[in-house]
């Protein structure tokens, strides 16, 4: 047991070194930019994992929370507010929105909830597209002021890369802590059986609402960082298609697994670029690939490693 723990630690340390040295190896700004977007997506998917992976509630509104965070930040900084206020504003907006959406709807069953969250995302998108004087409509907002914290402002993609790694690490740590708290256990109980959880004294409605709000905060903060590190936003980045994409990152990576969230986000952010030569066929293969993963590897890519290890152990 101890050696396996040591092995895990060594593997994690090697992984950390690899991740931290990537910018030295790949000086190509485009690749770093992609990795930055992958990390932002990973934070959003970690947030989605609270409601969907752990609590078992379908949420197609995550892209809208992502967008609300990004647009709040962009509008606030462009209006001249100091950057330090934007994470708080973004969180305030998404918490308010998740309460408005969550309070009346979290009692609903699977497809009703799926539909309501799709509807919420669509309403947010339509408001962004048609409230042109403020949101810039379909052409989006450009030249958004960058991160600036007590005089420190990361410049260029590589500095942003390290900032985002730090934020992602904190996001992972918070998720681990919540998972092993009473709230985390209540989430799993709610997913396994709402009736059994209620019988054991878990307030399932409160648990679902909290999972939903925590997830929205993750998305809101990621949106804030998206706006101030990419510095250009448009409604396309936060549409219903994006919501489905975030959901598939979670499924393909492995629902309920923190490593899975990161693997899924990285794979499905980088893959379309690597497979760009496929053109329209990429989306056909992407859809079929999602079906194959759901059917053959219900635990996602994260589970494949442990399945292989189990097989090997069984063979020994």
């Amino acid at each position: 047991m101890k050696t396996s723990r040591l092995k895990t630690r060594i593997a994690l340390a090697l992984f950390a070194i690899a991740v931290l040295t990537i910018p030295l190896a790949a000086r190509d700004g485009y690749i770093i930019q992609l990795l930055n977007i992958a990390m932002l997506n990973a934070i959003v998917v970690l947030g989605l994992n609270f409601a969907t992976g752990w609590t078992g509630q379908i949420n197609f509104g995550q892209a809208a929370f992502y967008g609300l965070g990004a647009y709040t930040t962009a509008i606030a900084t462009k209006a001249g507010l100091p950057w330090i206020s934007t994470p708080f504003l973004a969180v305030a907006v998404v918490v308010a929105a998740s309460l408005v959406l969550g309070l009346p709807t979290l009692r609903l069953r699977t497809y009703y909830l799926a539909m309501t969250t799709i509807g919420f995302g669509e309403i947010v998108r339509l408001i962004i597209v048609h409230w042109e004087p403020v949101t810039g409509g379909t052409s989006g907002l450009r030249a958004i002021p960058g991160i600036s914290l007590f005089g420190f402002g990361p410049q260029g993609q590589i500095q942003h890369y390290y900032v985002l790694i730090a934020v992602l690490a904190v996001a992972v740590l918070v998720a681990v802590r919540i998972r092993h708290s009473a709230l985390g256990r209540a989430m799993i109980a709610t997913k396994d059986s709402e009736i059994a959880a209620e019988q054991s004294g878990v307030d399932t409605t409160r648990t679902k609402l909290l999972a939903f709000i925590i997830g929205a905060i993750y998305a809101g903060l990621a949106g804030c960082l998206y706006a101030s590190s990419i510095r250009f936003i448009s409604p396309d980045s936060f549409s219903g298609i994006q919501a489905v994409l975030l959901m598939t990152m979670l499924i393909v990576g492995g629902m309920g697994s923190i490593a899975g969230c990161i693997i899924g986000a990285a794979a499905l952010t980088l893959l379309p670029e690597a497979l760009r030569f496929l053109g329209q066929w990429y989306l056909v293969l992407y859809g079929l690939g999602v079906i194959v993963v759901i059917v053959l590897a219900p635990g996602g890519l994260a589970s494949i490693a442990s399945t292989i290890r189990l097989r090997l152990a069984g063979a020994r």
Partner: protein, 288 residues
């Protein structure tokens, strides 16, 4: 005013047809097909291929589309539902969405992104009543909806197959135990569901142009209608569809046409907050 009512009802009839297709599948396997809109789009394109590209008579194009859609429905069921029949329904929502993406992009590859039109099977001068114009195609839409509603009502309540469907929906395992050919019943339900969305596609294509991305929004409207009317509820689907068509048409005219697609969702969320199982109630309840 009268004109808006007619236009709204015609649009609503199409939403109702999408919802009726969803209902057939839902009433058999308790699964909501999130690719119903893409099936509709595919139906429209098969019709256009036959009637416009190959210049076949429109009636023949309809028949070809129906046969093709029945086949598509069965393939769809085998790929998307069958491997997951013993797993949580949540996963089937995702595979149907993924299949919707596949269908939409295959259509883009085969037929290209440009919108195309399809002729209506009926011709003739529009009827006029004191300023209100009703086109022959609109009348054809109303008649089709009425006929399909009647057929589906008879199928579900008066035929042996309808009873098999109900038994399958209530308890798949017991249904199999008492000798019901469960898989065949499910395959037929998917085939009929796909054919119904094909009809909706053939009816939509002459009014709006058909394009590969049309499915997403029409499919969502079908769900909104199902939610408003209560999933699996036959009269609910039709009344919900007509109601939504009217709301959208009047909302676009008197409030703002920019938010045309938002009215459906606002109404749906409002209905769910007040009546969590839809206005007319759900057909079957949750199993413990």
């Amino acid at each position: 005013m009268g004109q808006l009512v007619i236009n709204g009802l015609a649009l609503g009839s199409i939403y109702a047809l999408v919802a009726l297709g969803l209902l057939l599948i839902f009433n058999t396997v308790q699964i909501v097909n999130f690719a119903q809109g893409q099936l509709l789009m595919l139906g429209a394109f098969i019709g256009i291929s036959s009637a416009v590209t190959h210049e076949l008579p429109v009636a023949i194009a309809w028949i070809i589309t129906m046969v093709a859609m029945a086949f598509v429905g069965i393939v769809f069921m085998v790929l998307v539902y069958f491997p997951l029949r013993r797993r949580p329904p949540f996963l089937v929502i995702l595979t149907t969405i993924a299949m919707g993406i596949v269908l939409e992009n295959l259509t883009l590859i085969i037929w290209g992104p440009l919108p195309v039109s399809m002729p209506s099977p009926v011709h003739g001068a529009p009827l006029r009543f004191s300023g209100v114009v009703i086109s022959m195609h609109q009348i054809f839409i109303f008649v089709t909806l009425a006929v399909i509603l009647l057929l589906q009502f008879l199928l579900l309540t008066k035929t042996r197959f309808g009873i098999l469907m109900q038994a399958t929906a209530q308890d798949l395992h017991t249904a199999r135990l008492v000798g019901i050919p469960v898989n065949r019943t499910i395959a037929v339900a998917f085939a009929l569901g796909a054919m119904l969305s094909g009809v909706a596609g053939l009816l939509v294509a002459p009014i709006f142009l058909a394009e590969p991305t049309m499915g997403g929004s029409l499919g969502l409207k079908g769900f909104v209608v199902s939610v408003i009317g209560g999933f699996g509820n036959l009269p609910g689907a039709v009344i919900g569809g007509l109601f939504l068509g009217l709301i959208e048409t009047f909302g676009a005219r008197y409030i703002s046409s920019n938010f045309r697609d938002a009215y459906a969702f606002i109404v749906m969320i409002a209905v769910l907050v007040a009546w969590p199982r839809g206005l007319f109630g759900e057909k079957s309840s949750e199993k413990v």
